[in-house]
């Protein structure tokens, strides 16, 4: 289907497209603008990604895989109860790429927002969320506690994305502590 990021130029195109999407949103991502951003011709883009949709799809895929990797890393293969829930919480509250604009997080939202026209493009993201939710429910703590943590984390993401009353750094730390306390309580209370 698409040569994608297997090649050097393909990866550069993808990265440039991501920059563009983060800066201006998916709706402003055109083949021409992406070509310009990547320093490549339009033909060059279509050589690597057979259509605009394929390009967007590759971005979604990459985003999902990246967050997934973050989760795995944080969990560090711990099997303790609540480990996955904690990883999810921390991955959202203290993103890896803290520097300034938190590229990855913003990208996800821009993508999320931009692909509503074509539900097919959201499919990989939907599938991952289902997987994560399932993992949360099997995390050795009550499912409703894990779900509360997940929803709050997702809510934080939402507020960051669209800048809907974003939570300040201090408040964020307090909220994080509150959720961790909830988590600890659930761990020590389990039967």
């Amino acid at each position: 289907m698409s040569r994608g990021e297997s090649s050097e130029t393909g990866a550069r195109i993808l990265a440039a497209a991501e920059d563009l999407v983060i800066r201006e949103g998916v709706s402003r991502l055109t083949l021409d603008s992406a070509a310009q951003e990547a320093g490549v011709s339009k033909g060059g883009i279509l050589y690597h990604f057979p259509s605009r949709a394929a390009l967007v799809s590759a971005m979604v895929e990459r985003f999902v895989v990246s967050f997934e990797a973050d989760l795995v890393e944080r969990q560090a293969y711990s099997k303790e109860p609540g480990a996955f829930t904690r990883a999810y919480l921390e991955a959202t509250f203290d993103p890896r790429e803290a520097p300034a604009d938190c590229r990855e997080i913003r990208l996800g939202g821009a993508l999320l927002a931009g692909v509503t026209s074509d539900p097919e493009l959201l499919k990989p993201m939907r599938e991952r969320f289902e997987t994560w939710q399932a993992a949360l429910e099997q995390d050795g703590i009550p499912a409703e506690v894990a779900t509360v943590v997940r929803l709050a984390a997702d809510g934080l993401w939402l507020s960051d994305l669209f800048e809907l009353a974003p939570v300040s750094a201090e408040a964020r730390a307090e909220v994080r502590a509150q959720l961790l306390a909830l988590l600890e309580r659930a761990i020590s209370n389990r039967s």
Copy 2:
């Protein structure tokens, strides 16, 4: 700027546009499609809303006002601590228009997703969120508890909107109970 919904036809256009957006997303809202849906000509639309952006903007405004009214109604002017937080929680978990697909909630998300191209259109929504967040922080309970509730509610909204591992009705009730318990604990523990 726009005659808007002050007239009968203006309101009909707005309602028709909302239906269209809920069904197909903002990207599919064109002047032509809206005209057809409303049983009005394209010129007729532009008479009431001077541009497509004005139409979308009116929808955002209406959505925000509607949710706001829901909050006020649920709060019923109670001044008890946690009243606003509880109202926010319940407005999200048990939407007024329960029937089927919950029109209002879906509309908000479709709008949210669709207006990323023009950040200006989100402004009224941003302002409201700031107001609500401020109210939550002044609700007579610790701000971090109120914020956790808000974030979880927003997270639920997000998951519904994009169908990202949506929470089942039973799980939703349990999560709601969990958050209410957190709220009650905060109320009884306040100094």
